[in-house]
Protein backbone atom coordinates (compact mmCIF):
# COMPACT_ATOMS: atom_id res chain seq x y z
CA UNK A 1 0.00 0.00 0.00
CA UNK A 2 2.96 2.31 0.48
CA UNK A 3 5.49 4.02 -1.76
CA UNK A 4 3.18 5.37 -4.44
CA UNK A 5 4.82 7.63 -6.97
CA UNK A 6 3.10 10.97 -7.07
CA UNK A 7 2.67 11.91 -10.68
CA UNK A 8 0.51 14.37 -12.60
CA UNK A 9 -2.61 12.77 -14.08
CA UNK A 10 -5.08 13.80 -16.77
CA UNK A 11 -8.78 13.62 -15.86
CA UNK A 12 -11.58 12.52 -18.23
CA UNK A 13 -12.39 16.20 -18.82
CA UNK A 14 -8.81 16.74 -20.02
CA UNK A 15 -7.54 18.59 -16.97
CA UNK A 16 -3.96 17.86 -15.86
CA UNK A 17 -4.04 17.28 -12.12
CA UNK A 18 -0.82 18.24 -10.30
CA UNK A 19 1.06 15.44 -8.57
CA UNK A 20 0.10 16.76 -5.13
CA UNK A 21 -3.44 15.60 -5.89
CA UNK A 22 -2.19 12.01 -5.54
CA UNK A 23 -0.75 12.68 -2.08
CA UNK A 24 -3.10 11.18 0.55
CA UNK A 25 -2.53 13.89 3.24
CA UNK A 26 -3.45 16.65 0.75
CA UNK A 27 -7.10 15.86 1.55
CA UNK A 28 -6.76 16.35 5.31
CA UNK A 29 -6.98 19.71 7.05
CA UNK A 30 -3.57 20.17 8.68
CA UNK A 31 -3.28 21.01 12.37
CA UNK A 32 -0.04 22.92 11.79
CA UNK A 33 -1.07 26.40 10.58
CA UNK A 34 2.06 26.86 8.42
CA UNK A 35 1.48 23.53 6.72
CA UNK A 36 -2.21 24.29 6.25
CA UNK A 37 -1.30 27.62 4.62
CA UNK A 38 0.66 25.66 2.02
CA UNK A 39 -2.19 23.18 1.55
CA UNK A 40 -4.74 26.02 1.22
CA UNK A 41 -2.61 27.77 -1.38
CA UNK A 42 -2.31 24.56 -3.43
CA UNK A 43 -6.07 23.96 -3.22
CA UNK A 44 -6.84 27.56 -4.18
CA UNK A 45 -4.67 27.35 -7.28
CA UNK A 46 -6.14 23.96 -8.17
CA UNK A 47 -9.74 25.17 -7.73
CA UNK A 48 -9.21 28.32 -9.79
CA UNK A 49 -7.34 26.63 -12.61
CA UNK A 50 -9.88 23.79 -12.79
CA UNK A 51 -12.71 26.32 -12.77
CA UNK A 52 -11.07 28.14 -15.67
CA UNK A 53 -10.63 24.86 -17.55
CA UNK A 54 -14.29 23.91 -17.13
CA UNK A 55 -15.61 27.50 -17.06
CA UNK A 56 -17.16 26.96 -13.65
CA UNK A 57 -18.11 30.08 -11.74
CA UNK A 58 -19.65 28.82 -8.53
CA UNK A 59 -18.33 26.59 -5.77
CA UNK A 60 -20.41 25.43 -2.83
CA UNK A 61 -19.50 23.64 0.38
CA UNK A 62 -22.18 21.10 -0.59
CA UNK A 63 -20.05 20.16 -3.62
CA UNK A 64 -17.77 18.35 -1.17
CA UNK A 65 -20.65 16.61 0.57
CA UNK A 66 -22.10 14.37 -2.14
CA UNK A 67 -20.54 13.05 -5.31
CA UNK A 68 -22.11 13.66 -8.69
CA UNK A 69 -21.37 17.32 -9.40
CA UNK A 70 -19.00 19.37 -11.56
CA UNK A 71 -16.26 19.27 -8.96
CA UNK A 72 -15.87 15.50 -8.47
CA UNK A 73 -12.65 15.34 -10.49
CA UNK A 74 -10.75 17.52 -8.06
CA UNK A 75 -12.62 17.25 -4.77
CA UNK A 76 -12.23 13.48 -4.89
CA UNK A 77 -9.47 11.09 -5.78
CA UNK A 78 -11.00 7.64 -6.16
CA UNK A 79 -7.62 6.08 -6.95
CA UNK A 80 -6.38 6.73 -3.44
CA UNK A 81 -9.86 6.81 -1.84
CA UNK A 82 -9.59 10.32 -0.53
CA UNK A 83 -11.96 13.27 -0.64
CA UNK A 84 -11.92 16.83 0.52
CA UNK A 85 -14.20 17.14 3.53
CA UNK A 86 -16.82 19.92 3.58
CA UNK A 87 -15.28 21.54 6.67
CA UNK A 88 -11.88 21.67 4.94
CA UNK A 89 -13.44 23.16 1.79
CA UNK A 90 -15.16 25.79 3.93
CA UNK A 91 -11.79 26.72 5.42
CA UNK A 92 -10.28 27.06 1.94
CA UNK A 93 -13.23 29.12 0.71
CA UNK A 94 -12.90 31.51 3.66
CA UNK A 95 -9.25 32.04 2.83
CA UNK A 96 -10.05 32.62 -0.85
CA UNK A 97 -12.58 35.30 0.05
CA UNK A 98 -10.06 36.97 2.39
CA UNK A 99 -7.53 37.08 -0.44
CA UNK A 100 -10.04 38.37 -3.01
CA UNK A 101 -9.86 35.25 -5.12
CA UNK A 102 -13.60 34.67 -4.64
CA UNK A 103 -16.62 36.48 -3.15
CA UNK A 104 -19.57 35.10 -1.25
CA UNK A 105 -22.49 34.78 -3.65
CA UNK A 106 -25.10 35.51 -2.61
CA UNK A 107 -23.79 37.84 0.09
CA UNK A 108 -24.37 37.26 3.81
CA UNK A 109 -23.69 33.52 3.83
CA UNK A 110 -20.45 31.55 3.80
CA UNK A 111 -21.22 28.33 1.96
CA UNK A 112 -21.18 29.40 -1.64
CA UNK A 113 -18.76 31.54 -3.62
CA UNK A 114 -18.32 33.17 -6.99
CA UNK A 115 -14.82 32.32 -8.17
CA UNK A 116 -12.41 34.94 -9.41
CA UNK A 117 -10.32 32.90 -11.83
CA UNK A 118 -10.44 36.26 -13.53
CA UNK A 119 -10.87 39.32 -11.32
CA UNK A 120 -13.60 41.86 -12.17
CA UNK A 121 -10.81 44.11 -13.51
CA UNK A 122 -9.63 41.36 -15.84
CA UNK A 123 -13.21 40.64 -16.95
CA UNK A 124 -13.64 44.36 -17.66
CA UNK A 125 -10.75 44.21 -20.13
CA UNK A 126 -12.13 41.02 -21.71
CA UNK A 127 -15.53 42.68 -22.12
CA UNK A 128 -14.12 45.86 -23.60
CA UNK A 129 -11.82 43.93 -25.92
CA UNK A 130 -14.70 41.75 -27.09
CA UNK A 131 -16.94 44.76 -27.86
CA UNK A 132 -14.09 46.41 -29.69
CA UNK A 133 -13.17 43.31 -31.72
CA UNK A 134 -16.79 42.64 -32.71
CA UNK A 135 -17.46 46.28 -33.68
CA UNK A 136 -19.96 46.86 -30.91
CA UNK A 137 -18.44 49.91 -29.25
CA UNK A 138 -20.86 52.84 -28.96
CA UNK A 139 -23.90 50.62 -29.49
CA UNK A 140 -26.29 49.68 -26.75
CA UNK A 141 -25.98 46.05 -25.65
CA UNK A 142 -28.39 44.31 -23.33
CA UNK A 143 -26.84 42.17 -20.61
CA UNK A 144 -28.51 39.22 -22.26
CA UNK A 145 -26.68 39.93 -25.53
CA UNK A 146 -23.38 39.84 -23.67
CA UNK A 147 -24.10 36.71 -21.65
CA UNK A 148 -25.57 34.76 -24.55
CA UNK A 149 -24.07 36.20 -27.72
CA UNK A 150 -24.96 34.59 -31.06
CA UNK A 151 -21.29 33.79 -31.61
CA UNK A 152 -19.91 32.23 -28.40
CA UNK A 153 -17.35 34.43 -26.71
CA UNK A 154 -15.21 34.34 -23.59
CA UNK A 155 -18.13 36.03 -21.85
CA UNK A 156 -20.69 33.36 -22.71
CA UNK A 157 -22.39 32.28 -19.51
CA UNK A 158 -20.71 34.84 -17.25
CA UNK A 159 -22.79 35.29 -14.09
CA UNK A 160 -24.75 38.53 -13.94
CA UNK A 161 -23.06 39.61 -10.71
CA UNK A 162 -19.64 39.31 -12.27
CA UNK A 163 -20.73 41.13 -15.43
CA UNK A 164 -22.09 44.02 -13.35
CA UNK A 165 -18.80 44.25 -11.47
CA UNK A 166 -16.86 44.29 -14.73
CA UNK A 167 -19.10 47.00 -16.16
CA UNK A 168 -18.75 49.16 -13.07
CA UNK A 169 -14.96 48.87 -13.40
CA UNK A 170 -15.28 50.24 -16.96
CA UNK A 171 -17.78 52.89 -15.86
CA UNK A 172 -15.23 54.29 -13.40
CA UNK A 173 -12.91 55.10 -16.29
CA UNK A 174 -15.72 56.36 -18.53
CA UNK A 175 -15.52 53.39 -20.81
CA UNK A 176 -19.06 52.21 -20.10
CA UNK A 177 -22.46 53.77 -19.49
CA UNK A 178 -25.29 51.85 -17.92
CA UNK A 179 -28.53 52.51 -19.75
CA UNK A 180 -32.11 51.48 -19.08
CA UNK A 181 -33.61 49.56 -21.96
CA UNK A 182 -37.09 48.21 -22.59
CA UNK A 183 -36.54 44.75 -21.13
CA UNK A 184 -34.18 45.63 -18.29
CA UNK A 185 -30.69 47.03 -18.36
CA UNK A 186 -28.11 47.60 -21.03
CA UNK A 187 -24.70 49.07 -21.45
CA UNK A 188 -22.96 51.25 -23.96
CA UNK A 189 -19.25 50.53 -24.19
CA UNK A 190 -17.12 53.45 -25.25
CA UNK A 191 -13.67 53.60 -26.76
CA UNK A 192 -11.05 54.65 -24.29
CA UNK A 193 -7.55 54.08 -23.11
CA UNK A 194 -7.55 50.47 -21.99
CA UNK A 195 -4.34 50.83 -20.07
CA UNK A 196 -5.85 53.58 -17.93
Amino acid sequence: MSAPTLAPRTTPSGYLLPSIHSAPPFFTQQPNPNTQAVVTEHWTKLILSYARHRRLFMLRVEDAEVAGNDWDEILRNEQIHRRLLPSHLEHIITDMVEKNRAVYEPARQTRSVLLYWRTPEEWAEVLHGWADATGQLNTILTFYEIIEPPVPSQLSGIPMTLLRKAISVLAKTSRAQIISVADGEGVRLLPGNSSR
Binding site: S2, A3, L6, A23, P24, P25, T28, N34
Partner: protein
Amino acid sequence: MRRLGGVGLAAFERQQQSQRSFAELSSELSKAQVEHLHAQMDHFRSALVRFATTHRDKIRKDPAFRHAFQRMCASIGVDPLAGPRKGGWWAEVLNLGDWQYELGVQIVDVCVSTRERNGGLIEMGELVRLVTRLRAVEQGSITEEDVIRSIKTLKPLGAGYEVIDVGGGKKMVRSVVKELDEDQAVVLAIAQDEGGRVSEELLVVRRGWAVERARAALENMLLRDGLCWLDEQDESGSPAYWVPSAMHWDE
Protein backbone atom coordinates in the same frame (compact mmCIF):
# COMPACT_ATOMS: atom_id res chain seq x y z
CA MET B 1 71.95 12.93 44.67
CA ARG B 2 74.36 12.69 41.77
CA ARG B 3 73.69 14.93 38.86
CA LEU B 4 74.77 14.59 35.29
CA GLY B 5 77.96 16.66 34.81
CA GLY B 6 78.87 16.74 38.47
CA VAL B 7 78.00 19.25 41.14
CA GLY B 8 78.85 22.86 41.79
CA LEU B 9 78.88 26.15 39.89
CA ALA B 10 81.33 24.95 37.24
CA ALA B 11 79.17 21.99 36.48
CA PHE B 12 76.16 24.23 36.23
CA GLU B 13 77.88 26.47 33.71
CA ARG B 14 79.07 23.50 31.74
CA GLN B 15 75.54 22.22 31.57
CA GLN B 16 74.23 25.60 30.43
CA GLN B 17 76.87 25.72 27.77
CA SER B 18 76.02 22.35 26.36
CA GLN B 19 72.34 23.17 26.37
CA ARG B 20 73.06 26.31 24.32
CA SER B 21 75.08 24.28 21.89
CA PHE B 22 72.33 21.72 21.55
CA ALA B 23 69.79 24.47 20.97
CA GLU B 24 71.95 26.02 18.26
CA LEU B 25 72.52 22.73 16.60
CA SER B 26 68.85 21.90 16.81
CA SER B 27 67.68 25.17 15.27
CA GLU B 28 70.34 24.78 12.64
CA LEU B 29 69.02 21.33 11.85
CA SER B 30 65.35 22.24 11.86
CA LYS B 31 66.09 25.29 9.71
CA ALA B 32 67.68 23.06 7.16
CA GLN B 33 64.79 20.65 7.43
CA VAL B 34 62.19 23.37 7.06
CA GLU B 35 64.00 24.74 4.04
CA HIS B 36 64.12 21.30 2.59
CA LEU B 37 60.44 20.82 3.29
CA HIS B 38 59.64 24.16 1.75
CA ALA B 39 61.49 23.20 -1.36
CA GLN B 40 59.68 19.90 -1.43
CA MET B 41 56.35 21.57 -0.90
CA ASP B 42 57.01 24.04 -3.70
CA HIS B 43 58.01 21.21 -5.91
CA PHE B 44 54.98 19.20 -4.96
CA ARG B 45 52.68 22.14 -5.29
CA SER B 46 53.86 22.99 -8.74
CA ALA B 47 53.50 19.35 -9.73
CA LEU B 48 49.96 19.32 -8.38
CA VAL B 49 49.19 22.56 -10.17
CA ARG B 50 50.63 21.17 -13.38
CA PHE B 51 48.55 18.05 -12.98
CA ALA B 52 45.41 20.00 -12.16
CA THR B 53 45.87 22.42 -15.02
CA THR B 54 46.56 19.68 -17.50
CA HIS B 55 43.49 17.78 -16.43
CA ARG B 56 41.33 20.80 -15.62
CA ASP B 57 38.61 19.96 -18.12
CA LYS B 58 38.47 16.38 -17.05
CA ILE B 59 38.25 17.37 -13.38
CA ARG B 60 35.41 19.73 -14.14
CA LYS B 61 33.47 17.38 -16.36
CA ASP B 62 34.06 13.87 -15.16
CA PRO B 63 32.65 13.16 -11.70
CA ALA B 64 34.62 9.94 -11.27
CA PHE B 65 37.88 11.68 -12.08
CA ARG B 66 36.98 14.62 -9.85
CA HIS B 67 36.30 12.20 -7.06
CA ALA B 68 39.66 10.46 -7.53
CA PHE B 69 41.47 13.79 -7.62
CA GLN B 70 39.78 14.92 -4.43
CA ARG B 71 40.64 11.66 -2.73
CA MET B 72 44.25 12.15 -3.73
CA CYS B 73 44.26 15.67 -2.34
CA ALA B 74 42.66 14.50 0.88
CA SER B 75 45.10 11.65 1.37
CA ILE B 76 48.08 13.99 1.15
CA GLY B 77 46.44 16.52 3.41
CA VAL B 78 45.66 19.22 0.88
CA ASP B 79 42.27 20.81 1.23
CA PRO B 80 41.47 22.16 -2.19
CA LEU B 81 38.95 24.57 -0.71
CA ALA B 82 41.47 26.12 1.65
CA GLY B 83 43.82 28.66 0.25
CA PRO B 84 45.08 32.19 0.45
CA ARG B 85 42.42 33.57 -1.79
CA LYS B 86 38.66 33.56 -1.72
CA GLY B 87 37.53 30.30 -3.20
CA GLY B 88 40.76 28.70 -2.20
CA TRP B 89 43.02 26.64 -4.27
CA TRP B 90 40.20 25.34 -6.46
CA ALA B 91 39.47 28.84 -7.60
CA GLU B 92 43.11 29.65 -8.18
CA VAL B 93 44.10 26.64 -10.17
CA LEU B 94 40.98 25.07 -11.53
CA ASN B 95 38.42 27.84 -11.61
CA LEU B 96 36.45 25.28 -9.71
CA GLY B 97 35.77 27.71 -6.88
CA ASP B 98 33.16 29.47 -8.94
CA TRP B 99 31.75 26.15 -9.96
CA GLN B 100 31.49 25.12 -6.32
CA TYR B 101 29.83 28.40 -5.33
CA GLU B 102 27.50 28.22 -8.25
CA LEU B 103 26.46 24.74 -7.19
CA GLY B 104 25.97 26.10 -3.67
CA VAL B 105 23.61 28.77 -4.94
CA GLN B 106 21.66 26.15 -6.86
CA ILE B 107 21.43 23.96 -3.77
CA VAL B 108 20.03 26.91 -1.83
CA ASP B 109 17.59 27.54 -4.67
CA VAL B 110 16.27 23.98 -4.58
CA CYS B 111 16.15 23.82 -0.77
CA VAL B 112 14.29 27.11 -0.47
CA SER B 113 11.86 26.44 -3.29
CA THR B 114 10.89 23.02 -1.93
CA ARG B 115 10.83 24.14 1.70
CA GLU B 116 7.13 24.89 1.88
CA ARG B 117 6.45 21.35 0.76
CA ASN B 118 9.01 19.46 2.80
CA GLY B 119 9.48 21.66 5.85
CA GLY B 120 13.15 22.27 5.08
CA LEU B 121 14.26 18.68 4.84
CA ILE B 122 15.11 17.14 1.51
CA GLU B 123 16.31 13.69 0.57
CA MET B 124 19.82 13.73 -0.94
CA GLY B 125 18.89 11.86 -4.13
CA GLU B 126 16.02 14.25 -4.72
CA LEU B 127 18.27 17.26 -4.14
CA VAL B 128 20.86 15.94 -6.59
CA ARG B 129 18.11 15.25 -9.12
CA LEU B 130 16.59 18.73 -8.81
CA VAL B 131 19.96 20.49 -8.92
CA THR B 132 20.89 18.46 -11.99
CA ARG B 133 17.64 19.46 -13.63
CA LEU B 134 18.21 23.09 -12.70
CA ARG B 135 21.61 23.01 -14.36
CA ALA B 136 20.17 21.25 -17.39
CA VAL B 137 23.12 18.91 -17.52
CA GLU B 138 23.28 15.20 -18.13
CA GLN B 139 22.40 12.89 -15.27
CA GLY B 140 25.38 11.95 -13.19
CA SER B 141 27.46 15.07 -13.75
CA ILE B 142 26.64 16.25 -10.24
CA THR B 143 27.37 13.75 -7.53
CA GLU B 144 26.25 13.46 -3.96
CA GLU B 145 29.81 14.26 -2.98
CA ASP B 146 29.81 17.52 -4.96
CA VAL B 147 26.66 18.53 -3.12
CA ILE B 148 28.14 17.69 0.27
CA ARG B 149 31.26 19.73 -0.50
CA SER B 150 29.22 22.69 -1.68
CA ILE B 151 27.15 22.57 1.48
CA LYS B 152 30.41 22.90 3.43
CA THR B 153 31.16 26.10 1.54
CA LEU B 154 27.77 27.41 2.66
CA LYS B 155 28.70 26.98 6.31
CA PRO B 156 30.07 30.51 6.83
CA LEU B 157 26.67 31.86 5.84
CA GLY B 158 25.29 30.40 9.06
CA ALA B 159 22.08 29.40 7.33
CA GLY B 160 22.15 26.02 9.01
CA TYR B 161 22.56 23.86 5.93
CA GLU B 162 23.53 20.43 7.11
CA VAL B 163 23.78 16.89 5.82
CA ILE B 164 22.09 14.37 8.08
CA ASP B 165 22.66 10.65 7.98
CA VAL B 166 19.35 8.93 8.65
CA GLY B 167 20.85 5.46 8.46
CA GLY B 168 20.67 2.76 5.84
CA GLY B 169 22.96 4.75 3.57
CA LYS B 170 20.28 7.46 3.27
CA LYS B 171 21.16 11.08 3.66
CA MET B 172 19.00 14.13 3.98
CA VAL B 173 19.84 17.80 3.74
CA ARG B 174 18.36 20.14 6.27
CA SER B 175 18.03 23.78 5.29
CA VAL B 176 16.43 25.18 8.41
CA VAL B 177 18.00 25.55 11.81
CA LYS B 178 16.13 22.87 13.66
CA GLU B 179 17.22 20.32 16.17
CA LEU B 180 16.53 16.85 14.92
CA ASP B 181 16.41 14.41 17.81
CA GLU B 182 17.22 10.72 17.59
CA ASP B 183 13.61 9.60 17.50
CA GLN B 184 12.91 11.89 14.60
CA ALA B 185 15.84 10.44 12.72
CA VAL B 186 14.30 6.99 13.18
CA VAL B 187 10.94 8.25 11.92
CA LEU B 188 12.65 9.74 8.87
CA ALA B 189 14.47 6.49 8.14
CA ILE B 190 11.21 4.53 8.27
CA ALA B 191 9.47 7.13 6.13
CA GLN B 192 12.25 6.69 3.57
CA ASP B 193 11.53 2.97 3.39
CA GLU B 194 7.79 3.46 3.17
CA GLY B 195 7.59 6.05 0.44
CA GLY B 196 6.84 8.76 2.97
CA ARG B 197 4.16 7.13 5.15
CA VAL B 198 4.66 6.54 8.87
CA SER B 199 2.26 5.65 11.62
CA GLU B 200 2.31 4.95 15.35
CA GLU B 201 1.68 1.30 14.57
CA LEU B 202 4.64 1.09 12.22
CA LEU B 203 6.98 2.53 14.85
CA VAL B 204 5.62 0.20 17.52
CA VAL B 205 5.93 -2.90 15.33
CA ARG B 206 9.23 -2.12 13.63
CA ARG B 207 11.06 -0.47 16.50
CA GLY B 208 9.31 -1.83 19.54
CA TRP B 209 8.53 1.69 20.70
CA ALA B 210 5.86 2.36 23.27
CA VAL B 211 2.77 3.95 21.69
CA GLU B 212 3.35 7.13 23.72
CA ARG B 213 6.88 7.49 22.39
CA ALA B 214 5.74 6.99 18.81
CA ARG B 215 2.92 9.48 19.27
CA ALA B 216 5.18 12.10 20.84
CA ALA B 217 7.76 11.85 18.04
CA LEU B 218 5.10 12.10 15.33
CA GLU B 219 3.19 14.92 17.00
CA ASN B 220 6.37 16.92 17.41
CA MET B 221 7.23 16.53 13.76
CA LEU B 222 3.69 17.41 12.77
CA LEU B 223 2.89 20.31 15.06
CA ARG B 224 6.19 21.78 16.20
CA ASP B 225 8.42 21.27 13.18
CA GLY B 226 6.03 21.02 10.25
CA LEU B 227 8.11 18.17 8.85
CA CYS B 228 5.18 15.91 8.11
CA TRP B 229 1.57 16.07 7.00
CA LEU B 230 -1.39 14.40 8.66
CA ASP B 231 -3.71 12.00 6.82
CA GLU B 232 -6.98 11.33 8.64
CA GLN B 233 -8.42 9.17 5.86
CA ASP B 234 -5.86 6.40 6.05
CA GLU B 235 -7.16 2.89 5.29
CA SER B 236 -5.93 1.64 8.67
CA GLY B 237 -8.54 3.74 10.41
CA SER B 238 -5.88 5.52 12.48
CA PRO B 239 -4.09 8.71 11.48
CA ALA B 240 -1.09 8.33 9.17
CA TYR B 241 1.75 10.80 8.89
CA TRP B 242 3.46 11.63 5.62
CA VAL B 243 6.95 13.05 5.30
CA PRO B 244 6.94 15.03 2.03
CA SER B 245 10.72 14.87 1.71
CA ALA B 246 10.52 11.06 1.68
CA MET B 247 7.65 10.84 -0.79
CA HIS B 248 8.34 9.97 -4.42
CA TRP B 249 7.42 13.09 -6.37
CA ASP B 250 7.35 12.83 -10.11
CA GLU B 251 6.98 16.28 -11.62
